[in-house]
């Protein structure tokens, strides 16, 4: 399709001005992370703080978004207030669809609104709306009000921050349509610093199919593979939480601040138990036949006199790990109460859970006392953790103000670095599988297990540990995932979207490419991201690894710091 062009909506919050750019020069980057990396590189200022008004937020979807099965994500790129460097996060639900219906493939936001504002973005323009009545409200109520105020029910997406974002907590999230999030690395704080409470994106644009026969053929082929392969069982059945029992049985489930890789109470909070006792429904992002979103019901008494409420709360492996096993929670009710609070405050669940783990040991070892914390804390004590989480958002003292900048910042100031489970200032996800996991998290662009799947590399090389091959696998995987992420394909479908399938899907809508071109694109994005993060302060020579990672045996045995150092040297030699 020769007329194809990437339509970029640029929004200046300070001046309340917008501009639409038709960027044909970005076509070769396809969309998603390819386009977003380039747009971010054009306007980020390494000299300025992550929360400076000038810093950009870039959102992008891709050419296959929602018109092929499981192509459901939108990427956000920003300078992370948690790490100070590269910020990259993905979210699903209806956002990719809404952007498509509004007619924009990328949105760049910079500046700072003079007062609390929300944006209403549609095919016929952008409205800057007063959000003073919404400022201070939690995530749920903000969504309920916006759905009444804005048009195009069913063809829109509402993304918003909670109090954590408003208060610029470094790990505040942006909630997307109630049940998905730009969770990690603090996009919520960037929104808060911009006085941006929410964005509603809606649209009704028609888009005729260029070649119906070719498109339907490829669509049907991919659809059949999606609904007939095991991803349906794994992600729709028990859901991602199936990993709780699986990892626990293998000794790779981070438990009690990674004092252990197994949790004796895992059975209570496993995916199977959640399904049997709390699951009430499942949902899908727009364009996904799988439907991995699992919703639990929490019924609880909120006042005397038989006053009850029920809430429908989404859960996944990472949430049950971070707000469950990692802080020793022994019941589903406690896990759901913590998830609910984190959701309503609008903070990242993984970061919050790992921070609570550090707080617990810091308290036990006398680094911080009860008076400072304002509560007692202990593993399995949900009440104490609820107080701590609230205090992070509304800090009563300098300890909490520091903790609001993340676990690494708190350990740097108060001590306890050995058991602050962060890598490159980013709190660990729910896997303790071995060397490739630890190195992959440290060198990955966004320090996520989703960058390069270190957990899987560990299991593949379990029998014969070849450090060179492990590092090469991590790099190869990260480069290919840059291609998948340029198309914003949900990584749960990575097994289906092999290079051949991606080429035929793109070809069916008139975008001609080859597997070689795709691989070159993955390589280029990998380099672009690395160059930017170096400018933003990421330094491969100054990385540290908390002692706890080496003390507690992983799924593939005990880790050695010598091996990690060797792997890091191999990684550097490959750049």
């Amino acid at each position: 399709m020769s007329e194809r062009t990437i339509k970029v909506l640029e929004i200046n919050l300070s001046e309340e001005k917008i501009e639409v750019h038709h960027r044909k020069d970005l076509n070769y980057l396809l969309g998603g992370i390819g386009v977003a990396s380039k747009l971010f590189a054009e306007s980020v200022n390494p000299q300025l703080d992550p929360l400076a008004p000038e810093q950009p937020v870039v959102l992008a979807n891709g050419p296959l978004s929602t018109i092929f099965p499981v192509v459901t994500k939108v990427v956000a790129v920003f300078r992370s207030p948690l790490t100070g460097e590269w910020g990259e996060s993905y979210a699903g639900m209806r956002l990719a669809l809404a952007m498509r219906l509004a007619g924009f493939q990328a949105i760049v936001i910079h500046g700072r609104a003079h007062a609390p504002t929300y944006l209403s973005i549609g095919p016929r323009g952008v409205k800057f709306k007063n959000a003073s009545a919404l400022w201070g409200l939690n995530v749920g109520e903000t969504g309920s009000i916006l759905r009444r105020l804005e048009p195009n029910r069913g063809h829109r997406s509402t993304i918003r921050i909670g109090p954590a974002g408003e208060k610029c907590v470094s790990f505040a999230s942006v909630n997307v349509d109630t049940y998905r999030h730009f969770g990690r690395l603090g996009l919520g704080a960037v929104f808060g610093a911009k006085n941006l409470k929410a964005i509603v994106i809606h649209g009704d644009k028609d888009e005729p199919i260029p070649d119906s026969k070719a498109y339907n053929k490829v669509y049907r082929d991919i659809y059949q593979r999606v609904v007939k392969t095991d991803i349906m069982d794994k992600y729709h059945g028990v859901g991602t939480a199936i990993n709780i029992n699986a990892l626990n049985n293998l000794g790779g489930l981070p438990t009690k601040n990674l004092q252990s890789g197994t949790f004796e109470q895992a059975g209570n909070i496993s995916g199977e138990s959640f399904a049997e006792q709390s699951l009430i429904r499942k949902m899908a992002c727009s364009g996904c036949p799988v439907g991995c979103i699992h919703i639990a019901m929490r019924r609880r008494e909120f006042g005397p006199g038989y006053e009850y409420e029920s809430k429908a709360i989404s859960y996944d492996h990472e949430l049950i790990f971070a707000l469950g096993s990692f802080i020793g929670m022994t019941s589903q009710e406690k896990v759901l109460d913590l998830i609910d609070l984190v959701e309503e405050l609008g903070m990242d669940a993984i970061t919050a859970g790992v921070a609570l783990g550090w707080v617990t040991e810091a308290y036990q070892s006398g680094i911080v006392d009860e008076a400072t914390l304002g509560t007692k804390v202990d593993f399995d004590n949900a009440e104490g953790y609820i107080e701590v989480l609230k205090n992070i958002v509304y800090p009563p003292n300098s300890f909490y103000a520091t903790l609001a900048r993340g676990t690494a910042a708190a350990a740097e100031k108060y001590g306890g670095k050995d058991y602050a489970l962060t890598l490159a200032k980013t709190e660990m996800p729910g896997y303790h599988t071995g060397h490739a996991n630890v190195l992959g998290l440290t060198v990955g662009a966004r320090h996520s297990h989703l960058d390069n799947a270190g957990y899987s590399v560990d299991q593949k090389h379990r029998e014969q540990r070849d450090l060179e091959k492990m590092v090469d696998d991590l790099i190869t995987e990260e480069k290919w995932r840059n291609v998948l992420n340029s198309l914003c394909i949900c990584l749960f479908a990575r097994g289906i979207y092999d290079p051949e399938t991606v080429v035929s899907a793109l070809g069916s809508i008139g975008i001609n490419t080859t597997a070689e071109e795709l691989n070159a694109l993955g390589e280029e994005i990998f380099k672009t991201k690395h160059e930017i993060r170096i400018k933003l302060g990421y330094n491969l020579d100054r990385l540290t690894f908390p002692k706890r990672f080496f003390d507690t045996p992983s799924l593939t045995g005990r880790l050695s710091s010598e091996n990690i150092k060797r792997m890091l040297e191999i990684y550097k030699s490959r750049l």
Partner: protein, 117 residues
């Protein structure tokens, strides 16, 4: 929505679908499907004065696009308010009861059934 739009309207946009999935009151509430229920002696057909909508035996309607003048009387007449109008083509988005949406529902939520009389 996507299956209906691409199969019947040859469009990538779910706004062109005769079936619309919405929530009753936000994503924490139930999903509802706004879709033709195949009325016997369909009121939309009765309201059509140009012969573009004709009631089918057993329920539902047949649509003859070239006869339609875009008056929207059928949209007004739909008792449950699920007949959408497409401003681009100036015609209603009539459900042809083909079952494509049900065929592409992998979780047995949508099914095509004969209306009991």
């Amino acid at each position: 929505m996507l299956a209906c739009a691409r199969t019947i309207r040859r469009s990538l946009s779910p706004t062109k679908a005769a079936i619309q999935i919405r929530t009753a009151g936000g994503l924490q509430s139930k999903f509802v499907a706004d879709i033709c229920r195949g009325c016997i002696d369909a009121p939309c057909a009765a309201a059509c004065r140009c012969g573009a909508l004709i009631a089918r035996e057993g329920g539902g309607v047949r649509f003859i696009p070239h006869k339609c003048i875009g008056c929207k009387d059928c949209v007004e007449a739909c008792i449950i308010g699920v007949l959408e109008f497409d401003e681009d083509s100036n015609k209603p988005l009539v459900c042809v009861q083909c079952g494509t949406c049900a065929r592409f529902c992998p979780h047995q939520v949508l099914t095509l059934e004969e209306r009991p009389i």
